[in-house]
């Protein structure tokens, strides 16, 4: 019964418009993909929804509760977590301490399925290694696991597959599956179109800060305006 609703959301930096008039709703337990060319405003969208940056206009509603303008820690504690595009862990401490901090700061106890997730990523055997000594792909997975360890009901993922080797990308599928098994909904910003097609029953297309399309991938990706705005750009990204 965890619903995220975004109404008329806009963000400007000074005179520069990043996005405007973004409207969508995510029912509980759903999976939503967000695609768009570089600079479309996807990361800023995640920053604004998660409270890292304040919106210029619009409302963000979580479970019927208006969370617009709340600080990032408050939104995290209300059950909305996020991951970062770059690897983002506490680099000087062990994997164990990283996850321990996430559980402690999230204050909702250890979520179901965390241990099996660690085992499947091969992190359970490396709990005492310093996190920045891990291979890039595992650091990135650790970042995802930490967001999950706060026990969220809605999770925003910022390009989880970016920088991963092809063989590692199924980790993202695995992760999203775990999160959904735990009953949380997932919004996933991604350039990897295979991954989006494979996983998301519904996608949003963001172009130059405007919501261009909203629907099932097969339908949306066939639209000429989407192809014009975006698909030319994906050749190199895919």
């Amino acid at each position: 019964m965890s619903e995220l609703r975004v109404e008329g959301l806009a963000k400007r930096f000074g005179g520069l418009r990043v996005f405007q008039d973004i409207n969508f709703a995510m029912p509980a337990g759903s999976l939503l993909g967000v695609i768009g060319p570089n600079g479309a405003g996807k990361t800023t969208l995640i920053n604004v929804i998660s409270g890292r940056q304040a919106p210029s206009a619009g409302r963000i509603v979580l479970d019927g509760r208006d969370i617009t303008g709340q600080p990032a820690h408050a939104i995290s504690r209300l059950g909305l977590a996020r991951s970062f595009q770059q690897t983002n862990t506490f680099k000087s401490v062990s994997v164990r301490e990283n996850i321990g901090r996430a559980i402690r700061f999230g204050q909702r106890g250890m979520p179901k399925g965390l241990e099996s997730l660690l085992a499947e990523f091969g992190l359970s055997d490396r709990l005492d290694e310093q996190s920045d000594k891990l291979p890039y792909g595992l650091q990135k997975m650790l970042g995802l696991v930490m967001a999950f360890a706060t026990g969220p009901r809605v999770l925003l993922l910022d390009e989880p597959a970016a920088g991963l080797e092809r063989a590692e990308r199924h980790h993202v599928d695995l992760f999203v599956q775990h999160v959904r098994d735990a009953g949380a909904s997932v919004l996933i910003v991604e350039h990897d179109m295979d991954l989006i097609r494979r996983m998301c029953p519904r996608i949003l297309v963001l172009d130059a800060g405007v919501l261009l399309a909203d629907g099932p991938p097969a339908e949306v990706l066939a639209r000429p305006d989407v192809i014009a705005a975006y698909l030319g750009d994906t050749e190199e990204a895919a």
Binding site: H73, S76, F90, F105, L114
Partner: protein, 322 residues
């Protein structure tokens, strides 16, 4: 495994216990010697280390504060003014010297903790400049440029701390108290402070209420600085604006950085060595500043862990090799 992911930290670690033992041991020094020089150096170090701990608490969260002289002034002048009303009870004065600066730090913290990095450095520098000017501009309260002299000795359980030896013992007590408070605070919130130090944005996104810990650190650091001010005016028997010059903040920062910012032993070792070295210059104490400068350059460029961090690394390497 759930237990192993959330290890319970012991209340005090090795470094904290070592620091507390150092100051407990200091009580023995005045019993073993009558040397005026030893008393003087030890007393200076005991005042300096308290101020350095105040700086260190904020450095735990990657905030470099130049405000310690301002809070030292509040603590020191509180005691000096109380002395004019013949209040000399040590418990009363200690409580006042800690609580008053801490109270002042609450609204100030709400203002200045919105800033990070170099902006925080600048705003705390400005704070200590303002305090300096305020001391000069409020002669009715603080004696202006004359300061307040003739502070009566502190009274501990019926005994006036009047001799050099007694003053040193009192300074030991203040240093021990400050160390216990600092150790408990930084140890209890170790994970929180370390997370803020390393990656504030990540910590906040995981749900950590960053401002709450920064505010707590700022308020306690102000109280600790107040204790340093108390110890300083007790040593000098006078409260004077020049004792709380914003330039002295540089000394306390130098002690902490040179000693090492990763462990509570850093400010302790740094202060002890720097105060000792300063006294080696004898009457040319001002030359010690050059030594601080060189050591700061060396630590920042080559030995990032400072003295304590470097020794720790060496010990670990030696152990690994054997």
């Amino acid at each position: 495994m759930s237990g192993s992911l959330l290890p319970r930290a012991r209340l005090l670690g090795g470094a904290e216990i070592a620091a507390i033992l150092v100051f407990a041991a200091c009580f023995a020094v005045p019993m073993m010697t009558k040397s005026v020089l030893v008393f003087s150096v030890l007393n200076q170090a005991l005042v300096g280390v308290v101020a350095a701990q105040s700086v260190w608490i904020m450095l735990r969260m990657n905030l470099m504060s130049f405000a310690s002289p301002a809070f030292m002034a509040i603590g020191g002048y509180t005691v000096a003014i109380a002395g004019q009303y013949e209040i000399t009870n040590v418990f009363l004065l200690t409580a006042a010297a800690f609580i008053l600066p801490a109270l002042v730090a609450i609204p100030l913290g709400a203002l200045v903790l919105r800033l990070r990095g170099t902006y925080f450095v600048l705003v705390t520098f400005v704070l200590s400049q303002i305090m300096q000017l305020l001391l000069f501009e409020t002669p009715g309260l603080t004696g202006g440029s004359n300061g307040i002299s003739g502070i009566p000795p502190v009274n501990v359980l019926g005994t006036d701390m009047a001799t050099n030896r007694q003053v040193v013992l009192f300074a030991c007590g203040i240093a021990l108290l400050a160390t216990v408070i600092t150790a408990c605070l930084t140890r209890y919130f170790k994970q929180h402070f370390a997370a803020i130090e390393e990656n504030e944005i990540l910590a906040e996104s995981l749900g950590l209420v960053v401002w709450r810990y920064k505010a707590l650190g700022f308020v306690v650091a102000a109280g600790i600085a107040g204790l340093a001010g108390f110890s300083l005016v007790t040593m000098l028997l006078t409260a004077h604006p020049s004792s709380f010059d914003s330039g002295t903040a540089v000394d306390f920062i130098a002690y902490t950085i040179i000693g090492g910012r990763a462990s509570i032993l850093g400010p302790v070792v740094g202060t002890a060595l720097m105060v000792y070295a300063t006294n080696l210059f004898g009457t040319h104490g001002q030359y010690a500043q050059g030594l601080y400068g060189v050591l700061i350059l060396v630590v920042v460029l080559a030995l990032r862990g400072g003295i304590v961090g470097t020794v720790e690394t060496l010990v670990r390497k030696l152990r690994g090799a054997s």
